[in-house]
Amino acid sequence: MSAMSTVEIKHLPSIVSLPQHRDLDQEGSTNKTALRLADFNAWYGAYQALHNVHLLIPEKQVTSLIGPSGCGKSTLLRWMNRMNDIVPGARAMGQLQLLDVDVLAKSTDVVALRRRIGIVFQKPNPFPKSIYDNVAFGPRLHFKIKPADLDQLVEWSLRKAALWDEVKNRLHESALSLSGGQQQRLCIARAIAVGPDVLLMDEPCSALDPGSTARIEDLIFELKEQYTIVIVTHNMQQAARCSNRTAFFFEGRLIEEGSTKQVFTTPREKKTEDYVTGKFG
């Protein structure tokens, strides 16, 4: 994984042509559904952020949510593992199901849910602890785990996040000494260390430089073999490069959803076409 350390970002035309080197043709229709949303509505106080969203998110694929600022895509993502519980005034109604679990139900154990649905935020937010302790934080919370097993788990997670080679000699230094891109990969390692099924990413590259962005995108592509990934992004090239399916949101409504290739090349809706061709947003 460390071999692909630098990836050149090619200049992309305003109408996105799909990169050819990756196989995105599989439509994902054969995969099971990981997350099922039906008639989903969300509010912040009196303001309705999402209206009647119907969306199926397939397992072991990358689904990207795109749309202009304030269209509700981040809200949707944060409801998927109930991060909005800690936001005062936020509420949601409708069906939101993870495999067999009703996410929104009052009886659902939020802690157990978040173990299965990890999240990576826009800005890297490592804890002010050592690199090792950051990755070990989740497993230590959830399991009575032996130190040797923990070592193994930390190494595995860091390798998975393509960070092992860079930090293996300084695992006990402060995580805040890492660069921004490394911190974000550390956050990904921290999220996968608890063994989630689904990984949510809220604009994971928007605070990073192009080199780090490319590495994270490669990582996302790698991780999809094991995880269902939902990624919110402002960057359409990113959505086109690394996702299998794309959902376009506008003003709190789901406008169009389909395979990335279809959404970007033959959008069914005029709004979608305007957005992906950069006429607004």
Binding site: M83, F121, P124
Partner: protein, 359 residues
């Protein structure tokens, strides 16, 4: 409707020459020098404290001397000759030697007895007073630190806005109550409560004046300080850290104890140090409730005297202004000043040097 007049056709209204700025500049520099004068008052205050305390404390260490009434020659006392009649070296007049105070004896001694008894029995060992101060501070901190820390965690992480509405104002009211009121409270409520027969089998006999009740009252005084400083430190931890922990499936307890508190540790330690410095300097409560018997003890049920308590006793008493005991007030004040200054300084250093820098 009348068409508006085209204003661009008109010439600009002529202005005279600009007002001279010389007056403005003069005023500016006058004001600035006045401000500098006000600001430098703080430096003068510090200087004055240092000079006054150390000059008068030096007087204290040179007080063990007698001026001969006949020949005006000065004879210095020492530990061996204190209390004895010594003939003057120059004229042979018999001189009664007062108590002798040495810097070393002051800083290492554990007995404090400057008022009663013969001159040779007077002792000036500041540790008897420091131990009183330390014990009251220890009790106060044992009370205020856990309570203040938990209250701050509750306010910052858990509290519902409605509970906050009750809690926050009552802490503010508690912070605004004058210290003499807490002293009165310690004397008339806490001590009788500790002396209740129901508690006697557990705690034993209490003196009317005791270090425990004074310490508890000082702790109540420090509670709002600790909780508000710690809450500030907890609030300064970025939201993203909390979200990161929640995203991993942490409970509120995990987030508070394992993420937020460690991240705010420098602020919390600094708050503790500032609170300790406050307890060390606390005066009215110990003057009312701790008693006036300076001795080295570890029993909080006993009466004791703190450094501040001694200073109050000297200020109230009818000791003459140039007596050794009176001058000891300055030496004790100097020790107190150095202690609190060190605590404040370390507290500020901890806060600024060891805080985490987030992106």
């Amino acid at each position: 409707m009348a068409t508006p007049e085209p204003i661009f056709d008109k010439p600009l209204p002529t202005t005279g020459p600009f007002r001279s700025l010389r007056g403005t500049y003069v005023r500016e520099s006058v004001v600035k020098s006045l401000l500098v004068l006000c600001a430098s008052l703080s430096i003068f205050t510090t200087l004055a404290i240092v000079v006054v305390l150390f000059i008068e404390a030096a007087q204290f260490f040179r007080a063990g001397k007698v001026t001969c009434p006949q020949c005006a020659q000065v004879t210095f006392s020492s530990d061996e000759i204190a209390g004895q009649e010594i003939p003057c070296r120059h004229c042979g007049q018999a001189l009664k030697m007062p108590a002798h105070v040495s810097l070393w004896g002051f800083l290492t001694g554990t007995e404090w007895n400057p008022l009663i008894g013969k001159e040779q029995d007077k002792r000036f060992g500041v540790w008897a007073l420091i131990s009183g101060t330390l014990m009251v501070s220890l009790v106060a901190m044992a009370f205020a630190l856990p309570l203040g820390l938990i209250t701050a965690i509750y306010l910052s992480e858990y509290a519902h806005p409605r509970t906050r509405m009750i809690l926050k104002p009552s802490l503010e009211v508690l912070a605004g109550i004058p210290t003499v009121v807490f002293g009165f409270f310690a004397l008339t409520v806490i001590t009788p409560a500790l002396q209740l027969p129901a508690l006697r089998w557990l705690l034993g006999e209490f003196n009317t004046y005791n270090a425990l009740s004074a310490g508890i009252a000082v702790g109540i005084l420090c509670l709002p300080i600790v909780s508000s400083l710690v809450e500030d430190a907890l609030q300064a931890v970025p939201r993203s850290l909390r979200e990161g922990a929640y995203g991993l499936g942490a409970t509120k307890f995990d987030v508070s104890i394992k993420v937020v508190v460690p991240a705010a540790l420098s602020g919390i330690i600094s708050a503790f140090l500032l609170a300790v410095s406050r307890t060390v300097g606390e005066t009215m409560i110990v003057a009312l409730a701790a008693g006036s018997r300076p001795h080295l003890t570890l029993d909080p049920r006993d009466d004791t005297q703190t450094m501040t308590g001694w200073m109050v006793q000297m200020a109230l008493g009818d000791v003459s202004n140039f007596d050794v005991a009176y001058l000891s007030m300055y030496a004790v004040a100097a020790v107190l000043f150095i202690m609190t200054l060190a605590l404040t300084y370390v507290g500020n250093v901890v806060r600024w040097r060891f805080r985490e820098v987030y992106q």
